[in-house]
Amino acid sequence: MSNALLEVHNLSVDFHTARGTVHAVRHVSWSVNRGETLAILGESGSGKSVSANAVMNILDRPPAQIVSGEIFYDGQDLLKVSYETHRALNGKKIAMIFQDPLSHLNPVYTVGWQIVEMMTAHGRPADAARARALELIARVGIPDPEAALHKYPHQFSGGQRQRLMIAMALMLKPDILIADEPTTALDVTIQAEVLALLKELQAETGMGLVLITHDLGVVAEIADRVVVMSKGEIVEAGTPRGVYHNAQHPYTRQLIGAAPGKGEIRVLDSAEPVLLETRKLCKTYGKFTALHDVSLTLHRGQSLAVVGESGSGKSTLARAILRLEKADSGEALWKGRDLIAMKPGELLGVRREIQMVFQDPTQSLNPRMSVYQLISEGWDIHRLMPDRAARQAKVAALLEQVGLAPEHAQRYPHQFSGGQRQRIAIARALALEPELIICDEAVSALDVSIQAQVIALLDDLRKRLGISFLFIAHDLGVVRDFADTVIVMKSGEIVERGPTGDIFAAPQHPYTQRLLAANLDPDPDIQAQRRSAGMGP
């Protein structure tokens, strides 16, 4: 037994369901000391958050049950202390921040109140708490801290919210900070800033940091040590370098291999005719400009990527083309006909030719429809394939095409994993044999290994069926692997466009340069080089 400040030892947690008991984590052990950063790396379903939740006593019990193990903090077993003792440690000695700060901050209270509460809940006077809150809010880089105290979570940007979460977690100068996917929902530039902030704060306070992530780049950037989890077990442990270069477990090797951004860059074959052309599309919401004079051209068989951070207008572009939003002005010509001015009857025909795959398959698939119903709905709408047997055969074929089994047709979305769901969404889009598929962050929510599979699938479809793609993404690695042309958007405008190779090799616009610089490389050595070269954040 080591002398670590926080040590999880041989922890096993079960989840009880009617279908049987699920071993969420088995015999997990890790430890962290002051001033040290431990990364827990794993994909969704790997159980990477379970042990941290057990440390904080925030597992829902039932269905969870701690079967075995100990959690030592400062010598005492947290699994044996009273509820009250444990509560008093939470926030004060061990603090935690979460993936999605919007839902983890209470929407109906001001952030000032919530940050101050961290101290008042532990019996500190309110005025002292307020002073400390102001100091920390300024420290994490929120402008005008005094005003920020009185604002609500929804009035901040995603990055600011995570900074506020961090400020809150540090109120009582905890010994350990557990960060559960703290940068996953953030843009790359913001992610880099937040990671840098965490590092600085760790250096200042000497706290131990436990970072739970699925992103090899994050591990490469920040971790001292890493444990890799798969299916509830730790399959690999060591330093980031050691794990990256000398992975022992096949899973780890697969994970490292799946990291995007290493494939061959494709070149556009521009001989094909123009399919879609937008001319000076504009859209504003009140004072906010979502699109300003956006013009682009898309050829048959082309995969055009639109890159930008949140708020850049890239999703609005897709929605305007699909008439989910009404563009204020401009044209979107589909084979020469303007989609924006099209009559409903004519539009129905075009709807068949353009399909969309949304970011979150959990939300874009109706949870109450079976896979068969989901895929065949388009045929109902467009009165195609009246023959039921033919439909069933076609659904089976489509499912196989996207890498699922024909018998999956009778299941419901919630019975699939995220990646499988996205495949269903793609199968649904393919069912109507479209000429263009618009992918709005279609792989952003997926684990890297799944992401790689989906990208491969899309690429295969493009090659075999000649389908064009309008590929909206914020992840540059994925874009590099899939697109032949890249458009970079910022604040509703296109700031740079060109062949993928050119953009990645020699970005012209400063924004594009920053974007590329902030993108984390999974190789700790490359990250280290970047850091030392001063290119990194």
């Binding site: 925030i58 939470n90 809940a121 979460m165």
Partner: protein, 304 residues
């Protein structure tokens, strides 16, 4: 905010107008008040005289035009039976209904929120089931039955409280208690359900990770988030109460709007019926606006 209230006020005014037209004509479908005011052996002449005195002999549209013109001068007409301005009669009764509704409602809200929240926190446990079943039984037991049994027990047998009537604060105990039961049963269910989903929200996890104690987690962090559907149901129940509590008022001899309304309806005292409905409608519309404001106060995200 003020613009919103202004819009709502105008919309409500339109609803009020529609309500007035509807009630005016529908109520006049229900028979001749002269027949009910006068004894069964009254002569035709007497009935004709009664109708003439109250303008009931004019064509319906003319009666309506006259009513609207009077209304523009805030004249709701005279009660056909009480020989007094209808609005006076109504306001007197409403002066009793309003405090009864407000007192009951406040008690219901506090009790339902506290017990419903605790039940949700203890979901599936003994306390949860107890609260659920007791409140459901309360909500589904006939109120006149409860009222009479309560009088027999607490007023006649035990002698702790007066049987009925108004006067001292003690007189209010039984009516409020009987009136309390049904909305309590309903709201406690909604609070429980809403709290149940709110308690599984992510910010609760944050609060626990912060080391916040259970009571503040329930009543500070979660409750305010769970209040929106609760407020809607409270509005629904408040509307029912602002309409008066016919049964309770009838049994306890409580001079509120509910009893006045049913008496006026059965006696075809059209002017009082109309005035009573307009006053309660205004109260309900005001309450609806207050509820919209409450939404905004509780949840900053819907303030604009």
């Amino acid at each position: 905010m003020f613009k919103l209230i202004g819009q709502r006020a105008i919309a409500s005014l339109l609803s009020l107008l529609g309500l007035m037209v509807l009630v005016f004509f529908l109520s006049r479908l229900t028979g001749d008040p002269a027949v009910l005011f006068l004894p069964i052996d009254a002569t035709e002449e007497m009935k004709a005289n009664f109708r003439a005195l109250h303008g009931l002999d004019a064509p319906l549209l003319e009666q309506f035009a006259r009513y609207v013109l009077d209304l523009l001068q805030f004249d709701f007409g005279e009660s056909l039976r009480k020989a007094r301005p209808a609005i006076d009669v109504v306001m007197e009764a409403y002066a009793w209904t309003l405090p009864l509704a407000l007192i009951t409602l406040s008690l219901v809200i506090v009790a339902a929120i506290v017990l419903g929240s605790l039940a949700a926190f203890n979901v599936g446990g003994f306390f949860d089931r107890l609260v659920s079943i007791v409140s459901l039984i309360g909500a589904s037991a006939p109120d006149f039955w409860i009222a009479i049994v309560a009088i027999v027990i607490f007023a006649i047998n035990l002698g702790w409280l007066p049987t009925s009537g108004v006067g001292t604060p003690l007189h209010w105990v039984l009516p409020v208690a009987v009136l309390f039961i049904r909305p309590f049963g309903l709201i406690v269910q909604v609070v429980r359900g809403s709290m149940l989903s709110a308690l599984s929200a992510a910010y609760v996890k944050t609060a626990r990770a912060k080391g916040v104690k259970n009571l503040p987690i329930i009543f500070v962090h979660t409750l305010r988030n769970a209040m929106l559907p609760v407020i809607t149901v409270i509005g629904d129940q408040a509307a029912a109460m602002l309409n008066g509590a016919v049964i309770v008022e009838t049994i306890f001899g409580f001079p509120g709007i509910g009893k006045l309304m049913i008496d006026s309806i059965l006696q075809r005292d059209f002017n009082v019926v109309l005035a009573a409905i307009m006053v309660t409608a205004i109260a309900i519309f005001i309450m609806n606006i207050l509820i919209d404001i409450a939404y905004g106060v509780l949840d900053p995200r819907i303030r604009n």
